[in-house]
């Protein structure tokens, strides 16, 4: 059974051999290679050893409390022998390891959050129904979303195909070659796949997470992957995966519904659902998520995300939700991707600006886009400077980078 397709192919037997009877690991492992990264992680977790996950391109100076000499320093532990992967999976599920991860640091220094295997694997689904799935691995493995996908696939001994950071043609080639059945990725990743040219029928499940998506994107995904069910997932570095739902809504599972509150539209999460971090601030044991939501059906715990609290841009006293404007721009035919942001300005405080990436073969002008938007948005929500760009800058977790 194949565990991972990357530059090379690795079977679950290769993984077993890398782990079983081996008594050293790296508590802080920095590598660009997925197989040794995963092998090190599983070895540590199955043995109950603490682990800190760091990005392949990060320097110790960028993270608090980490010295360069700690990175890739080997440590010995009492080795364990496993007869087969079922034993490894069972050991991992009962792991008492502390797993330290960092926020992607889009707003300053990366913050440290300590998780247990139970918060990381809370939403993993197990059983025969989940056997034989082939996952496109489209996330950075050191961050929450990548860990969620990894554990879901690994605990069911599914196959992973690395497509993170790959070009469009290569992603499509892997989907076809490996007959990928499941893709979980950011909306930014899916936009890379536009426009529709050909459909891929092997894919039965598409999951979007990490950013807001829009109807235009859903429609395009529906064309490219006609057999796929599409759903969203909400996962944060702080809490892991809490709820998933169909369409553009989320539902809070009934058994944890008392662990949430909404104050001034902001979603508050009880500390019992979170990892631990010195950077968390609580009000009566509730954590301010920074996510602004609206109830669709409060009784049923059904809600929709509106925006991030700190994302609102103040333009001459008006508050603009950049996500709303991005959706309006991306709904225009010929636009692949849009990023809306504020630029400091002496008259208005901020001027609304947009970077727009067009689909191949389309020529739109700044005026075309403004005219289009003026039929849908209030004047203050229309970007005053629109730049056409060839490429968008992405963060380490594959989201669009806000300047």
């Amino acid at each position: 059974m194949v565990f991972l397709y990357d530059n090379e192919t690795y079977s679950y037997d290769d993984l077993l051999h890398a782990i079983s009877g081996n008594g050293t690991y790296f508590p802080l492992y920095r590598t660009k290679e997925l197989f040794p990264f995963f092998a090190n992680m599983i070895k540590a977790l199955a043995a109950g050893m603490p682990l800190t996950l760091i990005d392949a391109d990060i320097n110790a100076s960028e993270i608090d409390g980490v010295e360069e000499s700690d990175i890739n320093a080997e440590q010995a532990f009492e080795s364990k022998t496993y007869q087969n992967m079922d034993e490894v999976v069972a050991a991992l599920q009962q792991s008492q390891s502390e797993i330290t991860i960092f926020t992607s640091g889009t707003t300053g220094q990366p913050k440290k959050v300590v998780h247990s295997i139970s918060t990381l694997t809370r939403n993993v689904r197990l059983g025969e129904k989940y056997a034989g799935q082939i996952w496109a691995y489209a996330y950075n493995p050191t961050h929450m979303a990548g860990l969620q996908v990894f554990f879901q696939a690994f605990e069911n001994q599914n196959t992973l195909v690395n497509v993170f950071g790959k070009q469009r043609d290569e992603v499509y080639r892997q989907i076809a070659d490996k007959q990928i059945t499941h893709i979980s990725a950011t909306p930014t990743f899916y936009r890379l796949l536009l426009p529709f040219e050909k459909s891929y029928e092997s894919v039965v499940r598409i999951t979007l997470g990490g950013e807001k998506s829009d109807q235009h994107l859903y429609d395009a995904i529906g064309q490219i992957f006609p057999k796929a069910k599409i759903n969203n997932v909400y996962a944060s570095t702080e809490a892991g995966s809490l709820f998933a739902a169909k369409g553009d809504c989320f539902q809070i599972p009934e058994d944890i519904r008392d662990k949430f509150k909404v104050v001034d539209d902001e979603l508050l999460i009880h500390k019992s659902l979170l990892g631990s971090s010195e950077s968390f601030k609580f009000t009566d044991d509730f954590y301010h998520s920074g996510d602004l939501i609206e109830w669709v059906d409060k009784e049923a715990g059904l809600f929709r995300f509106k925006s991030r609290k700190n994302e609102l841009i103040n333009v001459g006293g008006y508050k603009v939700n950049p996500g709303e404007v991005e959706n309006a721009i991306m709904a225009i035919e010929g636009v692949r991707q849009a990023l809306v942001y504020g630029k400091a300005n002496s008259i208005l405080g901020n001027v609304l600006c947009a970077d727009v990436q067009l689909e191949n073969g389309f020529a739109l002008t700044e005026l075309d886009i403004k005219k289009h938007l003026s039929t849908q948005l209030q004047d203050f929500k229309i970007p005053r400077r629109i730049k056409f760009v060839e490429e968008m800058t992405l963060t380490r977790t594959g989201k669009l980078k806000r300047s």
């Binding site: 001459g316 300005n345 002496s346 008259i347 208005l348 005026l367 003026s374 005053r384 400077r385």
Partner: protein
């Protein structure tokens, strides 16, 4: 430089469905004669800054075309 400012102003006017102006005189007033709002003026400053690397509103308000020319001179 004067041609570029004319282009930027006509671009802003086009988005508001206003006729382009043929020429700018130093005494032309931004708000009264060209019908620019504070949002339009903000756009003007950003675009002039992109082009000439100077924030024309940095040290106080500018109200005529001549004052913009002076800042960029």
């Amino acid at each position: 430089m004067e041609q570029k400012i004319l282009e930027i102003i006509n671009e802003i006017r086009a988005a508001k469905n206003l006729e382009p102006v043929a020429e700018l005189k130093p005494e032309t007033r931004l708000r009264e004669d060209l019908a620019l709002t504070s949002f339009d003026l903000a756009e003007l400053t950003v675009k002039i800054e992109d082009e000439f690397d100077i924030d024309i509103f940095e040290d106080g308000l500018v109200s005529t075309i001549g004052e913009i020319y002076a800042k960029l001179a």
